[in-house]
């Protein structure tokens, strides 16, 4: 008996293409956290991130027959998530960074940043550094931010990011370097 959880993404996608749509639920469980976190990195709002990432699953399922297996499923799916996030950013123009201050998750993050010392001063500095990093990311061109978030936050390889962004690996390297340089510049005084 084959353990469904052991089926590869592409095998599950193929089953969905043959009309066995319920196998898509395994892909949802497999990628829901990653999809949510990509959207959260772009939007900084959990509700919006939830809506966008769920919408990405709906679109992926509706267009599953267009997945031709030339790229990996997650590359194809990440592209859908990123496109939705970029589209959302374009429509809303500005990410609601201000709401971050009042979020319980955010204060948790700040604590994590300061866990090594737990001194109040360290905590404050970590919080300010995090805020500055978020602002710098917000101000970045979309392509730089996308390349940085996919590499730094999601751990995708440059080759996969190039596939998601439909560009060359050389271009991704340039985006990544510029993003890191911008962050380094903005955090010069905090680290």
């Amino acid at each position: 008996m084959v353990d469904l959880q052991e089926l590869r993404d592409e095998e599950l996608a193929s089953l969905c293409q043959q009309g066995e749509g319920h196998y898509f639920e395994i892909l949802v469980r497999r990628y829901m956290q990653k999809a949510f976190h990509i959207a959260f990195n772009f939007t900084r709002d959990p509700e919006t991130a939830k809506d966008l990432s769920q919408d990405a699953f709906l679109r992926a399922f509706a267009n599953i027959k267009q997945f031709d297996g030339r790229s990996s499923f997650y590359t194809w799916f990440y592209r859908i998530v990123v496109n939705l996030c970029l589209d959302h950013a374009r429509r809303h123009n500005r990410v609601t960074w201000e709401s971050l201050d009042g979020m319980s998750e955010q204060s948790g993050e700040q604590k994590q940043l300061a866990d090594s010392t737990s001194a109040p001063e360290q905590e404050a500095i970590a919080g300010e550094a995090k805020r500055r990093a978020d602002q710098t990311l917000e101000a970045m061109p979309n392509k730089q931010r996308t390349a940085f978030l996919l590499r730094n936050h999601q751990g995708l390889s440059i080759a996969d990011i190039a596939k998601v962004m439909k560009t060359t690996e050389g271009t991704v390297r340039v985006y990544l370097h510029r993003a890191v340089a911008a962050l380094r510049q903005s955090l010069m005084e905090f680290v």
Partner: protein
């Protein structure tokens, strides 16, 4: 603040390579070259160290509780089901479990047709009659057929004339016999 120190500047020619080196995205040759340089350059060592301290902290994201993911999964699966239902609503009409509806639809369709013929066209006989009447009209449109029907008319006319002739002949014979009878009486 003793713990705070400025980020290290890297050699400009190595900066991009150092970022890729940090992410493990350099090839073997590049990595050897960067390692050789790092062994000699304190500034670039500090730069890589700064990236190691800074970038993982930025990457930290919201930590959601397990209940959030349970709800997320449940909602997503429900939305997928709704999307499928909307997409294939018409299939549901002809789903196997509703196969009994096919003869029912057929009966209704026949009933509508009959009612339409009876009331829409007056009645079925007149409709059929009109249909049969239209045929000669269509045939007459053809020139050859027109000539044929004209000759048919002619033949009918000839028949009438012959009948009239016969009738005339009969009446003439009757008159002649009457005259002969009158003469015989006289």
């Amino acid at each position: 603040m003793a713990h705070r120190k400025p980020l290290q500047s890297a050699c400009k020619t190595f900066e991009e390579d150092l970022v890729l080196y940090y992410y493990g995205e350099t090839g073997d040759d590049e990595r050897r070259r960067v390692n050789q340089h790092l062994a000699e350059c304190i500034s670039c060592q500090g730069f890589v160290e700064d990236l190691r301290r800074l970038l993982p902290q930025i990457a930290k994201s919201a930590q959601m509780p397990p209940s959030f993911w349970d709800e997320y999964y449940r909602e997503t699966v429900a939305k997928l089901a709704q999307q499928e239902a909307r997409k294939h609503w018409w299939r549901a009409l002809f789903a196997p479990r509703q196969i009994w509806m096919v003869p029912a639809f057929g009966t209704v369709a026949v009933a509508i047709l009959v009612v339409g013929l009876l009331f829409g066209k007056g009645n079925l006989n007149s409709f059929m009659h009109r249909t049969s009447e239209r045929i000669p009209q269509e045939i007459l449109a053809d020139e050859n057929q027109l000539q044929f029907f004209e000759s048919m008319d002619l033949l009918e006319s000839l028949g009438t004339l012959e009948k009239q002739d016969d009738h005339n002949a009969d009446s003439t014979n009757t008159q002649s016999s009457r005259v002969r009878q009158q003469h015989a009486v006289a």
